[in-house]
C-alpha cells in the first residue's frame, strides 16, 4: 500500500538527516508521496485549490518537524496522519467559521463537486461521491481509506488513532448508508 519501499524510506530519511543532502532528500520525499497524499486530501475536501493549499501546509509541517520523526515508526503512516489531521481541521474550521451544521457544510462540498472543472466519471461514480458527502467527515475518511485506497484496518487504526473494531463498525455503517443512497432515484 505504501508509495515507497522501506529501503527507499530509509534512504530518504538518511539524506534528510544529513545537512548536506537535506534539501535533496526532502525533495525526494515530496516527489515520492505527493500524489498519494494529494488524492487522500482531495477526496475529503473535493476542491482542487483547497487540496493544493492543504498539501502545501502538510509538507511545510513535515519540513519543520522531520527531526522529530521517530525512525521506528512508518514514514508514510506519519505523513498520512499529518494530512488527515490537516483535512479534518480544515473541514472543522470551515464549519466553525460559517457556523453551519454538518449537513450545510456537506452541501457546500456538494456544490463544489457539481461545479468543479476537474471531475469526470460516469453518472453512477458521481452518485457514489455524492452519497459519500452525506456522511460525517470521519466516516467518510474511513470509507475512503478502506474502499478507495484499499488500506488495512491496522494502518487506518494507526493513522486515525481509532480501534480496529470501531473502524469496522464505521465502515459497515457507511456502506449501508451509501447503498441506500444509491438505490434512490
Amino acid at each position: 500500500m505504501f508509495a515507497g519501499t522501506l529501503h527507499e524510506e530509509k534512504e530518504i530519511l538518511r539524506r534528510i538527516k544529513d545537512p548536506v543532502s537535506r534539501e535533496i532528500g526532502f525533495n525526494q520525499l515530496v516527489v515520492a508521496y505527493q500524489q498519494r497524499l494529494y488524492w487522500h486530501i482531495r477526496k475529503m475536501v473535493i476542491d482542487h485549490n483547497d487540496t493544493d493549499d492543504i498539501l502545501q501546509e502538510v509538507f511545510i509541517k513535515v519540513w519543520k518537524n522531520i527531526d522529530k520523526f521517530r525512525e521506528d515508526s512508518n514514514l508514510f503512516t506519519w505523513l498520512y496522519k499529518i494530512a488527515t489531521n490537516e483535512c479534518l481541521n480544515f473541514l472543522k474550521r470551515r464549519k466553525d467559521k460559517y457556523k453551519v451544521s454538518m449537513e450545510d457544510a456537506n452541501k457546500e462540498l456538494l456544490s463544489k463537486f457539481d461545479n468543479s472543472p476537474h471531475i469526470s466519471g460516469s453518472a453512477i461514480q458521481k452518485k457514489l461521491q455524492k452519497a459519500l458527502l452525506t456522511l460525517p467527515d470521519k466516516q467518510r475518511l474511513v470509507f475512503n481509506m478502506k474502499y478507495f485506497e484499499d488500506m488495512k484496518y491496522d494502518d487506518i487504526s494507526k493513522i486515525t488513532e481509532t480501534s480496529v473494531g470501531s473502524l469496522k463498525a464505521s465502515y459497515h455503517i457507511a456502506v449501508k448508508k451509501i447503498e441506500e443512497y444509491i438505490k434512490l432515484d
Binding site: 534539501e23 519540513w63 466519471g121
Partner: protein, 145 residues
C-alpha cells in the same frame, strides 16, 4: 445496484502538470516562510507578548482592587503608572514574558471567587498553532498600518 458493481477508478482530475510543478512551488513557499522569520515584522513578537502581559497585569491589578477592601495602596500605585510606562519598563527589562507571568502571585487570584479573574485567565493555554494563527493575522494587519 451494489457498491462493488461501481467502478473504483478515480474521477477527480488535476490541472495539467500539477504534480510536475508542485515540488518547485512548495520549495518557493518554504523559502518564503523561512525568510519571513527573519523580517522585522516577526521580531515584533516579543514586544507583542510583553504588551499582552502588561495588559493582563492591568486587568489582574484591577481585579484585585475589585475584591480587596484595603485597595487604597494598589489604587495609588495604579494611578501613578501609565500603561505606556509599564510597557516601556517591560521592554527594557530582561524579564521574559514567562518570567513576568510567573512572578505574578497567581494563588491570590485563584483563591478569589470574583468572576472577573476567571475571565482573564484562560483555563486552557492556547496551543502553538493557534498562537501562530493569531500572530499571522496580526502581522497581516501590521503591514496595512
Amino acid at each position: 445496484m451494489k457498491l462493488e458493481d461501481i467502478n473504483k477508478d478515480n474521477i477527480f482530475k488535476v490541472p495539467d502538470n500539477y504534480f510536475e510543478n508542485f515540488p518547485e512551488r512548495l520549495q518557493k513557499r518554504i523559502e518564503e516562510t523561512e525568510q519571513q522569520k527573519k523580517t522585522p515584522v516577526i521580531r515584533l513578537r516579543p514586544i507583542i507578548n510583553i504588551a499582552a502581559a502588561a495588559v493582563i497585569l492591568m486587568f489582574v491589578v484591577y481585579g484585585i482592587t475589585q475584591i480587596n477592601d484595603n485597595s487604597t495602596s494598589v489604587d495609588q500605585i495604579l494611578s501613578e503608572i501609565s500603561s505606556e510606562d509599564l510597557v516601556n519598563y517591560l521592554v527594557e527589562s530582561d524579564m521574559s514574558t514567562d518570567e513576568f507571568l510567573e512572578s505574578l502571585d497567581m494563588s491570590v487570584i485563584a483563591s478569589t471567587e470574583d468572576p472577573i479573574t476567571d475571565e482573564f485567565i484562560p483555563s486552557d493555554p492556547l496551543d502553538e498553532e493557534t498562537i501562530d494563527e493569531l500572530l499571522d493575522e496580526y502581522e497581516i494587519e501590521m503591514q496595512y498600518l
